[in-house]
């Protein structure tokens, strides 16, 4: 299963759903190695998925300010992997973090020549 590169950013097609797999939708998520969680989704993308809210989360941003995220539990489908995990509801891009990459226990290679990357 491969993703793709756009403007030096790595994107991976994933499916996400909440309490019912019937609600699943596909997203192109950007891999962010500076994010140690699983996935961030903007509110408008999260609503239709039936995600279950479990906690607020206090986060300190890079500029030192404090913000409050909502965190839901959901399922991410990628290739043959199924990861049930906390999903942060945050404005901005759809980001995949290091916890997701760690959980799928795969090695990935970035091919700049062909603008794509693959998991082994």
């Amino acid at each position: 299963m491969c993703g793709f590169l756009v403007h030096n950013r790595v994107y991976l097609p994933i499916e996400v759903f909440g309490f019912s797999e019937k609600l699943r939708r596909t997203f192109n998520a950007q891999i962010d190695t500076g994010f140690d969680g699983y996935l961030t989704l903007p509110l408008t993308e999260a609503f239709p998925l039936g995600l279950i809210l479990h906690t607020t989360q206090q986060i300190t941003l890079a500029d030192g300010s404090n913000v409050t995220d909502l965190v839901c539990y959901g399922t991410i489908l990628f290739n043959h992997h199924k990861v049930m995990c906390p999903i942060n509801i945050s404005p901005g891009n759809i980001l995949l973090g290091m916890s997701f990459l760690r959980d799928i226990k795969s090695e990935f290679n970035i091919d700049f020549k062909n603008n794509r990357f693959c998991f082994k």
């Binding site: 479990h54 404090n66 404005p91 916890s99």
Partner: protein, 94 residues
């Protein structure tokens, strides 16, 4: 399937959770669990620690499957004035 709920607004939940953290937990947790995650149930003041956020949250959900919690990374936020904490609700993009 249990659907968790809360009697509080998001802002109230975050404020209560932060108050519990700073008033009751920060001194002892930051000494031994700096950088780990804590999930707080604001009614009982019970808390759950994990090396990862998922680990702490899973413990909390197992104990209180019908509750909504407040969470933070231990040592990540400093004690500001109450007015500066949890006033900015990020998920709305404000």
């Amino acid at each position: 399937m249990t659907i968790p709920s809360t009697q509080y607004t998001i802002e109230q939940l975050a404020r209560l959770g932060n108050e519990i953290y700073f008033n009751e937990l920060s001194d002892k947790l930051e000494k031994d669990h700096y950088g780990e995650y804590v999930v707080i149930e604001v009614d009982s003041h019970k808390y759950f620690i994990g090396k990862t956020f998922k680990e702490a949250l899973d413990k909390a959900i197992a104990k209180f499957p019908d509750k909504i919690f407040h969470s933070l990374r231990i040592g990540d936020i400093k004690k500001f004035s109450k007015s500066s904490l949890s006033n900015h609700v990020w998920f709305l993009g404000a």
